[in-house]
Symmetry: none
Subunit: 190 residues, 4 copies
């Protein structure tokens, strides 16, 4: 599935690539996607040329950042799903995804949305997560922990929305928990 098609990449090249991704993640997340590529490169300590060697387009960079985030989420979701019984896993993952999706919405938006125009890699990562969620949702519904009339699309939309909510809320843990209480309660049957 994720075969070894890219060559090893020289040590420093790999380091630059990673730095660029880190900087881009930080910068896109906190200041939006409007930040000039040049600034991202400078912050990462490389020239623009280097940035464009690694990511042929600004959009490609954005996609790479998102894919990395999605893959991290997928991995954590898989872990949780393996360690818990279905109903607990569902709620834990819901919360996990929302927390991980933090960042300016403009960005988080694309996270769960499948409608991004055919970006292969993104689509793939997105599909993985959606599949995981479908399983979790089904399990939780069978266990009677989640209202049975909820479909995957609604779940995805809800995840996106609650991510937005969290951004509006700021860091206060009490507030954040209260929101989770509201939504998770609402997800239960009746």
């Amino acid at each position: 599935m994720s075969g070894a098609k890219e060559r090893p990449l020289r040590a420093d090249a790999a380091r630059n690539r990673a730095r660029l991704l880190d900087v881009a993640t930080e910068v896109f997340t906190t200041r939006g996607v409007g930040v000039p590529t040049e600034e991202i490169a400078r912050t990462a300590g490389v020239g623009v040329g280097t940035l464009f060697r690694h990511f042929p387009t600004k959009e490609a960079l954005l996609e790479a950042v998102m894919v990395r985030r999605l893959e991290a989420i997928a991995a954590q979701t898989a872990r949780l799903a393996a360690e818990m019984k279905p109903s607990d896993a569902f709620f834990a993952c819901f919360q996990l995804i929302v927390e991980q999706s933090a960042g300016k919405n403009e960005f988080a938006q694309a996270l769960v949305a499948a409608d991004v125009d055919a970006h292969a890699a993104l689509q793939e990562s997105s599909d993985v997560i959606q599949a995981q969620l479908a399983v979790l949702l089904d399990g939780a519904q069978r266990a009677g922990a989640v209202r049975p009339d909820l479909g995957l699309p609604e779940l995805l939309a809800l995840l996106a929305g609650i991510s937005t909510t969290m951004e509006h809320l700021g860091a206060d843990p009490a507030s954040r928990q209260r929101i989770f209480d509201v939504v998770l309660d609402g997800l239960r049957p009746h």
Copy 2:
């Protein structure tokens, strides 16, 4: 609150202003705030110069659009609040605001956020709505219809989030209603 400091405005000037607001609302909502001012002017049938005479800045135009939306929402909210008993009014307004906030998130986002950098007019309109909501929330909580641990900030964030959710969902009324069911259920005590 704000006296009559603007002069009457000639008939055609007023018409231009209105057309610009209409076009800008439509265009920002459906295609995002990145649309060139020139195009907005052209669509409204006026020159850019005219646009900038009415709104000295693109940001000012954006603000004016938002203020108009907020004022419309405030008016409807006031009406509902007057016609219903507190607990029903709260839920009705919640739904109303979410539906009215439709449009590209980028835009809806700023809607409820109070922390936008001190734009006087926006702040003012936002304050009005927040005050209305505070009253509604309090009434619903006193009536035992809404969990008592929910504060105004959480409510605002939730409104923003559910608006986002709706945009992700599309037009299917059944889906939209299911989301409301989840959230409104979650808002009730326990």
Copy 3:
């Protein structure tokens, strides 16, 4: 054919447009098409924005320059064709076109070539000249002044080539005339 679809254009706008065309003609002709648009704008005494308002693309500017040249040639050709008898007109036009095509080849190249990818305006101007030449050639052949086995494509290619030749020759009128003697002699029957 050349209807009045463009509005009159304000006086200074027209002046700017003309200056840009003049400068571009000069600059493309003497230094090739690689000259930065910015320099063309600066030389014409306007900002880049103005250049791009008049010609949405560098390529469009290039096309406009060529069209203007082609139209001038077509007009002169028409005049000559009207004033002379067929055989003389043919040779006079041949010489005229070659002289008018002066400039760096990179540029002159596209002049007679019909294969430029579907640029409407260019194509049209080019067609006009080709039609004129077809008539002239036919007339001269009927009059027995030009070898009968020569087709329009060959004539066009020859025009392009002799233009190149002239560029290589420089300004010496004696040399230039000698080249014309060679080619025009060669064009006669036998």
Copy 4:
């Protein structure tokens, strides 16, 4: 003129150099000199670094390509000149040079031009050909086969021009021959 100053060059280095020249010739000829050096290197199966080791500059590569072409032409010209009587040799060589100059003009242009800014190697190769042509021209004129008022500069310019003509014509042999008929006829006395 230029002694043996280059060292032998290791076997594989020589092979790389040759491949680069081959690829560059092909690529510059068919797609113009705008093709990125990187692509040339890749097509030749080497890294850019290697290309720049052999040719310190893109211009140097271009020059080397041209020199190789010129040398090939000089060799063939010498052969023809040795095998034929002066008048025939002149016409044969004219045709030979034009055919060999095929390729994008941008390129062929520089071929015969002596005024290219003092590139030593190019100048030298160009001089050789010019000397050969001077002899051939003189011989043909003495033999009464070519009009006596034609000078070397005119001949060179004509060669460049007819090369351009051929490129505009495409591959049809009948057309090409007709052009030669015209020009060679024109070159004869009267």
